[in-house]
């Protein structure tokens, strides 16, 4: 049985995530002070600006918690800005990211596309560990255009950008699976089934 927590740092649509996760498993809402040791998976939800998310994460030493959590072979999911903060920096803010992965997020060029990228859009998986072949809901102005991930998802807008990745037990999604209707429900079902399989 998976033990899953949703990190509530005062940002993000915690209730939406909780609701969709509870379709498959029991989840706990934890705050910045909580201990992560009992959880197989911690989810960092994302509605917010880069600086606000990084500031909240630094306040509770989330980087150190993620590193320690992953060293114990546990898993982490970052959604939207919850994924973006894992990289080094973003044009959106002045703060440095948590720098768990290399990358600098850039703003879509509003001379060539409408910004924010706010729509349901197609996702193309590349060597992804579980099934993703669908459309998801996006709402963001900044994206990672250059990366070195082997297992990733990309989406075409201004050009191809990183819409998801899986590396070292970290799953990041630029889209909002918790708000992607039946496709999002399938996403969580596939992800949880994958985690159950790798942890059994």
């Amino acid at each position: 049985m998976l033990s899953v927590a949703i990190l509530d740092l005062g940002l993000g649509n915690v209730k939406s995530l909780e609701k969709i996760c509870r379709k498959f498993i029991d989840v706990q809402i934890i705050n910045g002070h909580s201990c992560w040791s009992q959880f197989d998976l911690v989810i960092f939800p994302g509605v917010g600006s880069f600086d606000a998310a990084v500031t909240a994460a630094n306040k509770y030493s989330i980087k150190e918690k993620i590193i320690s959590h992953l060293q114990k072979n546990n898993h982490f999911l970052g959604i939207c800005v919850g994924m973006q903060v894992l990289f080094e920096s973003s044009e959106e803010g002045m703060c440095d990211g948590l720098s768990l992965f290399k990358g600098h997020l850039k703003r879509f060029n509003k001379n060539s596309v409408v910004v924010p990228h706010m729509m349901w859009d197609k996702c193309e998986p590349h060597d992804f560990p579980f099934e993703i072949n669908s459309v998801f809901y996006f709402t963001h102005s900044f994206a990672l255009f250059e990366h070195g991930f082997n297992k990733f998802i990309d989406t075409q807008y201004e050009s191809k950008f990183l819409s998801g990745f899986y590396e070292n037990n970290v799953l990041g999604t630029q889209f909002h699976p918790e708000k992607s209707g039946s496709n999002g429900i399938k996403f969580f079902e596939s992800y949880f089934n994958y985690l159950k399989k790798v942890r059994s």
């Binding site: 209730k15 939406s16 001379n111 729509m119 349901w120 859009d121 459309v135 102005s141 708000k179």
Partner: protein
């Protein structure tokens, strides 16, 4: 890809549909309506509390019940007046909050919301109203203050609003068709998503509007609440749209 966005108006926990902003007619339980639209994989749903707009009191407990039923993006509008309102709404599962009066009365609060939650979470509304005798003007829904389209362009740009909702209240609920695409083209110069609302008559019209590059989405009230122009209540999601426009 383009969006078709059903609008559910609520007033004191009842689902209603207005005509030209007035005469709200009961259309059923909003919680049930949101469940039906979410199960239909609506692109997004707008919840517009017309009582909260007027009375400046948001019924958060009821909005939580509504949010509990949605697995698609939710946008809220009505009576948002301080930063903590944004906090509570995002926390309970709304992805976007729409502002109208606040843009002009308390722009610093909107700016703080953009800074905290990101521009893509904040929607700016612009309402087209009928003048007393003839013509039309822009205003916020519950005030008589008049603004020019340039005032809106300036404030949307200055506050870095993520999306623009153009509400044509003159044709709201009439099925008369949307007649103000010229304004949408002006607003689209900001290179932000523009969603239009008010008077949409049919699925064919939605398709025609969505083909326009300036239109990111079409918000529909009557078409998602009624079975036909005879206004028999049937909550539904307009689906007979060319698939290449939608995902």
């Amino acid at each position: 890809m383009k969006r078709i966005i059903p609008v559910i108006q609520i007033s004191h926990r009842k689902g209603v549909k207005t005509i030209q902003g007035y005469n709200p007619k009961y259309i059923g339980c909003p919680v049930n309506a949101v469940k039906i639209l979410s199960d239909s994989n609506a692109s997004e749903i707008i919840i517009n509390d017309i009582a909260a707009s007027k009375e400046q009191v948001i019924d958060f407990d009821y909005l939580q019940l509504i949010s509990n039923e949605a697995y698609v993006p939710l946008c809220y509008s009505g009576g948002v007046s301080c930063l903590s309102d944004f906090d509570i709404l995002f926390n309970m599962g709304f992805e976007k909050v729409a502002c109208e009066n606040l843009l002009f009365t308390e722009p610093n609060i909107v700016q703080q919301a953009v800074d905290k939650f990101g521009s893509s979470s904040i929607v700016g509304c612009i309402t087209l109203k009928k003048k007393f005798l003839f013509g039309h003007h822009f205003s916020t829904f519950h005030s008589n203050l008049r603004y020019s389209i340039d005032d809106y362009l300036h404030i949307f740009d200055k506050l870095n609003i993520g999306e623009i909702l153009f509400n044509n209240i003159i044709d709201d609920g009439t099925f008369n068709g949307f007649k103000h695409i010229d304004y949408i083209e002006i607003l689209s110069n900001l290179k932000k998503p523009v969603v239009l609302q008010g008077g949409i008559s049919s699925s064919d019209e939605i398709e025609t509007l969505l083909v326009n590059d300036s239109v990111s989405g079409v918000a529909v009230g009557s078409l998602s609440c009624y079975r036909s122009k005879k206004r028999g209540v049937l909550i539904n999601y307009p689906k007979e749209i060319a698939p290449h426009l939608l995902v």
